[in-house]
Symmetry: C2
Subunit: 450 residues, 2 copies
């Protein structure tokens, strides 16, 4: 089943495009899944991609467009007329349609919407565009199968046949009362197993998980993952059924969320991938590197401040600053990552104080083990027990402080409503570098009595 893009496939395709062999190109793509076609379009030139999109049927291209990388889709949409975009959009589910139209400039949005022929779709799209970004409302689709509690099973099956044509997958049948308020659900299975003359009100399940239309998409993802749901109905504050969210959209939300946290931890500010231009990658990387540079300058200033104190006998102390900085950074990243991940999974319970106490004990344990090793190393190589002691004791303190900072900062940010993931990576390593080196010299100075 797996389709792989090969060099020979691309060569053949580009050859066919150059010779305008339209019917052969159509035939070539007829057997290929739209998700694979989207990948092909990411491999050819923009002109070739636009050529292919204009050539294929809108039934297929509408699916391809929803799968495409944002950057490429933007360029393709720029090269389609409002009418052509409207044709694509009419083939889409309302959620995908609203997403695509939402990417256009306001002026083009209006032109595309007025080119749409399906009034119901226009109303749906306008409604979906009105919800806040990253809310359940912006994520949901309007297409769903809905029955009234007063219907019979037979009547239901008849009407569902009509409704179901518009809905790609029927997960649940939602049961509403006369005021369109959600009161329960049914599965197709339940309906098939029931007797024809039964009323829906007799057989529906009145327990149904719902989300409010203003709920954040991350929260929806958590709920759906936790309760193993494949679709969830979306209601307004009065419990009126507005739409539904399906698990495939949630898979995308979870992946984006994971990618974002990973990138923040690695010191990348925006959503980039390895195929982006050097300029885009620089924009994502340079700010964090600059932060690191400022941290390094801070470390330099601290060391310069201690120059006179240690230039004489305890010169060797300067040679351990990369070690101290590295340990402070590593411990900080470890402890912040555990907290960030715990917060993301709603796993962090108890007070901040108990967390800090635990991290202190943990860091102390790790610190003492590592410091013992370092003590023996310095003592043997330098033969100076006092220097060895100064370096080792400060290492323990630095590790404890780094662990506390790494634990406290994400918890603090989370309390303030700021995404704690920004606390990992360069932010924590840079601040821990500076604190670590400062603490190190202060303690060493004290122990050596300089």
């Amino acid at each position: 089943m797996a389709f792989k893009i090969t060099a020979s496939f691309l060569e053949k395709l580009i050859g066919l495009i150059n010779e305008n062999k339209d019917s052969e190109i159509k035939k070539l793509f007829s057997e290929i899944h739209y998700a694979d076609v989207a990948e092909v379009l990411e491999e050819v030139s923009f002109d070739e991609a636009i050529y292919i999109i204009k050539l294929l049927d809108s039934e297929k291209t509408s699916e391809i467009l929803t799968e495409l990388d944002d950057d490429i889709r933007e360029i393709i949409l720029e090269n389609l007329s409002a009418k052509e975009i409207a044709e694509e959009v009419e083939e889409m589910d309302s959620d995908d349609a609203a997403d695509i139209i939402g990417e256009l400039s306001e002026e083009r949005q209006e032109r595309v919407i007025s080119a749409l022929e399906d009034d119901e779709l226009v109303a749906d799209i306008k409604e979906l565009l009105s919800y806040e970004e990253n809310s359940a409302g912006a994520l949901m689709a309007k297409e769903l199968v809905k029955v009234y509690e007063t219907w019979t099973v037979a009547g239901c099956l008849r009407r569902i046949r009509a409704q179901a044509k518009e809905v790609t997958r029927v997960h649940s049948i939602y049961v509403v009362d006369r005021e369109e308020k959600l009161i329960g659900r049914l599965s197709l299975k339940d309906l098939i197993v029931a007797k024809n003359e039964q009323k829906i009100s007799e057989i529906y399940i009145d327990k149904v998980d719902v989300v409010n239309v203003n709920e954040e998409e991350e929260e929806v993802a958590k709920i759906m993952a936790k309760y193993d749901l494949e679709a969830i109905p979306v209601v307004d504050n009065r419990n009126v059924l507005l739409g539904r969210i399906t698990i495939d959209d949630i898979v995308d939300v979870l992946k984006e969320e994971a990618d974002k946290d990973y990138q923040l931890a690695a010191g990348l500010t925006q959503d980039v991938d390895s195929d982006d231009s050097i300029l885009e990658l620089t924009r994502a990387r340079l700010p964090w590197l600059f932060l690191g540079l400022i941290g390094g300058i801070g470390a330099f200033l601290i060391m310069e401040g201690f120059e006179d104190a240690f230039k004489g006998g305890a010169f060797v102390l300067f040679f351990f600053t990369p070690l101290i900085a590295a340990m402070a950074g590593n411990v900080g990243v470890q402890s912040s990552a555990i907290i960030v991940q715990g917060l993301a999974n709603d796993d962090v319970k108890g007070s901040i104080n108990s967390r800090l106490l635990k991290e202190m004990l943990l860091a102390a344990l790790n610190g003492v083990i590592l410091a013992l090793f370092l003590f023996v190393f310095v003592w043997i190589t330098k033969g100076d027990i006092q220097t060895a002691l100064a370096i080792s004791v400060s290492l323990v303190v630095v590790i404890i402080v780094a662990g506390l900072i790494g634990t406290f900062v994400p918890l603090f940010l989370n309390k303030r409503g700021i995404d704690p993931a920004i606390a990992t990576g360069p932010f924590i390593t840079t601040s821990n570098d500076i604190f670590g080196i400062l603490i190190y010299f202060m303690i060493a100075k004290f122990i050596l009595g300089i």
Copy 2:
């Protein structure tokens, strides 16, 4: 809908347990979703958790057990007899049943299996346990709805009513030939829309995505996410239908995968969370910290090696080693993270050489911008243009080398079939610290002509 564990709820629950008010405890839990009950069990003591599990009906506890954290489930299972575990397992889908039994010691596995009364389940569990860990076979469930191509729609609906009782959710109906080979699929919707007397062979869809039973679960997750599938049938090498994998299991695979990559990037060796014991957390953290310590000692040895050269006039060079190390580490983590994420998303195309060239240009651009800033800073504060030049030029070279290492190592590991995610985090920062500082002193020595 959202159930929140409150202190007063826990207090009430523990009070009821202490007074052995079993019926009230049952009532308390009757309205709570099993995923929430699992969270409650993670908050109470082991004895209390075991008490609750033994009290509730196995229909509910079987679901709770599958949702529980591994650590707690292990302890609960240890406190249940083989017969009690068998009762739980009989309520589960085959995939969950096999997972739970797979966690037991071999001797207990046999005892539980021989206590099972359902022969079909025994056969299913034995089959599922025989597949390699993290393969499609180990992930799939045996429960599915299967019809033969020779059946009629009416006959199908009748038989599906029987089969469907065992299957929690009917995603697709799989169509097989006489040899049990998968030849296509149908949705319940298609079946409802079809006429009663039609043959399945006339209406089934012969395009069906499948995975081989030996496929890796990560690959299955990629396929299902890419093609927006909610269930995928699993076949053997002869295309015989063996089972199916549903999207909720894939959501778990994706989350685990993301968590693992994130933890590796943060320097944590095994799957830990913030509630684990200090000992477990130390086991996850100490090895990477030790690696960092070794790196720091390496940096110390390099600096000592250059002590005589720079102790005189260019003493200030030592004060910039934390800066150099931090920049080398940050650049390495950034470039390796982009590659690791690209590999995970199958986004990295083209040759290693073209990647390295791009990274070199990118690192050079970033490096020159940062080095210019540093040059001006050192020149102004130290008033020595030669030192400023030495430090800045080496910074550019260090950044380029760090970027190349960060790009090359994950690509190389991936080619060798090793998970590239281990290349991020402490591994890359430590090696880049050492290389960075070495390059820095060598270039500075050359420029200053010492």
